[in-house]
Amino acid sequence: MADRPLSPHVTIWKWSPAMLVSILHRASGDGMALVGLPVLLWWLAALASGPEAYARFARAADNPLGMVVLVGVSWAFFNHLCSGIRHFVLDMGAGYELNTNSRWSVGTIIGGVVLTAAFWAVLVTK
């Protein structure tokens, strides 16, 4: 990299909800791409291969590490879904006013957590 002045570093910015949403959108998207998609393919392959393969998938999903991965992937999905819908709204040119923008930024973060909790509440009580 050229030896030129850098833009102000992360640590000297005042944090705002929009920054956090932006970072979480990228983190949850790339996280899903790198972890969620292999899990999706494993699940499909297990269904295609038969009951034994599906039982192996279910055993892996049932242990603590598997649970952390599945809950993490589902949170990444719902978070990315909410902040993605926010992007659609911003694409239309709406929601740039500072207070509105902050409110909806906080809303997408809460929405992602609430949807994840609701999803697992239904699955666990089955």
């Binding site: 990299m1 990228r26 998207g29 790339d30 899903m32 791409a33 790198l34 998609l37 999706l40 393919l41 499909l44 392959a45 269904l47 295609a48 038969g50 009951p51 599906y54 039982a55 279910a58 999905f77 879904l81 993605g84 819908i85 992007h87 659609f88 694409d91 999803f119 239904v122 699955l123 089955k126």
Partner: protein, 154 residues
């Protein structure tokens, strides 16, 4: 043909963008809409299924509508992930040779992932169909044996 003037750079200055940026941007939105529909269908279906046992999930996925939507999900989600990871790589990998290599690997892996996902969906449908027809054949055989034993003296 008229004479071209100036350097290659001077010739293209002021012509505007090559439109590849908006192509990437639009595809990211199209696939995002596709993901929204197909992934929500998957999430809601998982919630509504009576349980998540092999038999129940496969019987559900082998139906025409879920199978179609899962095939579309695989294509849309992998394509969207390819666009997103491309941006991440372009942002964080600065060495151009390394960037080329990583993008090459990404494209190969995405193509493989789509092909594998589609083959899996197809196999799920075909396995369910062949089991159903085997089930039918056994039922027909049992019926034939039963009626043969009832009308005993020929």
């Amino acid at each position: 043909m008229s004479e071209t003037k100036g350097t290659p750079l001077a010739q293209v200055r002021g012509l505007g963008s090559a439109h590849h940026g908006s192509h990437h941007w639009l595809l990211q939105r199209y696939t995002a809409a596709g993901n929204l529909i197909t992934a929500m269908f998957l999430a809601i279906s998982l919630v509504l299924l009576p349980d998540l046992s092999f038999a129940v999930v496969r019987a559900w996925l082998a139906q025409p509508l879920p199978a179609t939507l899962m095939a579309l999900l695989v294509v849309s989600v992998f394509w969207h992930a390819r666009l997103g990871l491309t941006v991440m790589i372009e942002d964080y990998v600065h060495d151009s040779a390394r960037k080329f290599a990583v993008l090459l690997v990404l494209n190969l892996v995405v193509a493989a992932g789509i092909a594998f996902g589609l083959v899996c969906v197809l196999r799920i449908v075909l396995a369910a169909l062949s089991e159903a027809s085997a089930h039918d054949a056994v039922a027909k055989l049992q019926q034939a044996m039963q009626s043969a034993s009832q009308g005993a003296p020929r």
